[in-house]
């Protein structure tokens, strides 16, 4: 096999090589992004991430589509899943492509919870309309509702401990252990979406695939094959 001259010859080493590698481009992009985000304080993410949900709500009030309740209910649920995926992407982004968004992770997680709560409120108030009989049947007999609800319940302690005081009180190790609950929460959330559909459909399967991949990526670290 032919190899580029700079790889086989010491004469070229250091002159062209690294600048041509894809790692260089990756690091440049990462460095640019990392310095660009330095100017963005984390709190900015609250209004930015809340905007799509508020926009969806306002648009369905002002110009309702054929089934605005379904549009809002499903839209908010999908935003919640997207933010849960984003939250789990932050560590691999740092370790694999060296983009460091670690200081925004709390905001992403809390906004995911915000969307889960909004999704649940639309289900209760606008869709179910406090129709207790149906609600009780949903919660006792319908697996996809039960699974969605379990995912929500799991996220509650995570949302309430997403602050510095909780990390101090629990200690970093216990806090971290508690927050491993994100993994079952996202998996159940994606499963909840998949089971809602009448057939096997691509879109919910993408969320399930993301959830599984992001959990599998962490396995080597859990079993001690990779440094945390």
């Amino acid at each position: 096999m032919l190899r580029p001259a700079y790889e086989s010859s010491d004469k070229w080493r250091g002159a062209v090589p690294l600048a041509c590698g894809e790692g260089y481009v990756r690091d440049m992009i990462a460095a640019t992004l990392n310095s660009a985000t330095r100017a963005v304080p984390p709190w900015v993410l609250y209004p930015v991430l809340a905007f799509p949900g508020l926009w969806l709500f306002v648009s369905q009030v002002l110009a309702p589509g054929p089934d605005p309740v379904a549009a809002l209910e499903h839209g908010l649920g999908k935003y919640a899943l997207q933010l849960l995926v984003l939250g789990l992407l932050i560590t691999p982004l740092r370790d694999v492509v060296r983009i460091n968004l670690m200081r925004y992770r709390r905001q992403v997680g809390l906004m995911a919870f915000f969307y889960v709560v909004a999704h649940l409120l639309v289900y209760l108030v606008l869709d179910n309309q406090f129709w207790w009989n149906a609600l009780i049947r949903d919660l006792t007999r319908r697996p996809y509702i039960i699974i969605g609800m379990v995912s929500f319940v799991i996220l509650i302690p995570l949302a309430f401990t997403s602050n510095n005081a909780s990390i101090r009180r629990l200690g970093p190790i216990a806090w971290k252990r508690l927050h491993y609950l994100t993994y079952p929460a996202i998996l159940l959330g994606a499963l909840h979406y998949l089971m809602l559909k009448k057939t096997w459909q691509t879109e919910p399967m993408i969320y399930v695939a993301f959830a599984i991949m992001l959990i599998l990526w962490r396995v080597p670290r859990f079993i001690g094959l990779r440094r945390p």
Partner: protein, 306 residues
């Protein structure tokens, strides 16, 4: 190029008197249209006896919120992709237990049929509803023509399979072609319509052009679209959703508030086009057609035969 054009641009439910009046105006030009095929639904005769007086759903909503998996599983997929469908020429093969089987051009099938306007309630199994002003003829008129034999106990229907034009058929979300069936007495019931139009438009592609079934007391998936084959059978024919999930979708699929779908209640539904804060509406037995079709199911356990 879209084969239909919406005339309704306002966001409100079109006032019934407005489009009723317009049709009266058009009656004056009927002479000019006399030579046009009966597909032009302007010849339709209103049949108030079989129509609800509830306000019809907006044309935009009826034509943009569809379950027609042949064009994709999203509600807006059919409106986006169905314009690719060629609906002219169109023919329907009639086969099975009848004296006059054969393949007929749609124009020939429509010849001599009374095209009526029927404003029907429409209830989807997904717990939403519409009120749709259909145009069409009674299926019984067609079945009478082909003269069913004494062995004909069921009617089977088949949707077009043409993946070149029906983008959803390129993936196997459900087995193709889509099939449905009715018992003979259901098929012969005067409420059972072969629809060729909505409002004053010929059937929009996304709603099952050029001709579809409408069975208003059953969940929407029974009302099979873009029909190319009708077979009279002795045995109960297969029905697509029933094959896929027999515990969720029965062969009869009669609207029944007392029999829940395993994943949601069927006791009430959302009314399409009623906005974000509208109340749910209680679902009626046989979608409000219990007086007309209730006797068809006398003595049957509708919980078992759901």
């Amino acid at each position: 190029m879209p084969v239909w054009k919406s005339r309704f641009k306002d966001r409100d439910v079109t006032d019934r008197s407005v489009w009723m009046n317009r049709r009266t105006l058009m009656a004056g030009t009927a002479g000019l249209l006399a030579g046009a095929p009966a597909l032009a639904s302007r010849h339709a005769i209103p049949n108030p006896g079989y129509s609800t007086d509830e306000p019809p759903t907006r044309f935009e909503d009826i034509t943009s919120y569809n379950n027609f998996y042949e064009f994709g599983t999203g509600k807006d997929d059919p409106a986006r992709y169905a314009s690719a469908l060629t609906t002219d020429p169109w023919s329907i093969e009639i086969a099975g237990e009848c004296a006059n089987p054969g393949t007929h051009a749609l124009e020939d099938i429509l010849k001599g049929k009374t095209i009526e306007e029927r404003i029907y309630r429409f209830r989807c199994v997904e717990a939403w509803s519409m009120v749709i002003p259909w145009f069409g003829f009674q299926l019984s008129a067609l079945l009478d023509q082909v003269v069913p034999t004494s062995k004909a106990r069921y009617v089977a229907f088949e949707t077009l399979y043409r993946p070149e034009e029906m983008i959803g058929q390129r993936s196997r979300t459900i087995p193709w072609p889509y099939v449905e069936g009715l018992r003979m007495d259901e098929a012969m019931h005067p409420l059972t319509l072969m629809a060729t139009g909505i409002y004053e438009e010929k059937m929009p592609n996304q709603n099952g052009a050029p001709i579809r079934l409408v069975v208003p007391w059953k969940y929407g998936f029974k009302s099979i679209k873009s029909i190319v084959k009708i077979t009279l059978t002795e045995e109960q024919p297969p029905a697509t959703w029933n094959i896929l999930q027999p515990d969720e979708y029965g062969f009869y699929a009669n609207v029944n508030p007392e029999v829940d779908h395993p994943r949601w209640s069927q006791a009430s539904h959302r009314v399409v086009g009623s906005g974000l804060f509208a109340r749910r509406e209680p679902t009626l037995m046989l979608n409000g057609y219990a007086d007309e079709v209730g006797p068809l199911y006398a003595g049957m356990d509708l919980r078992k035969n759901f």
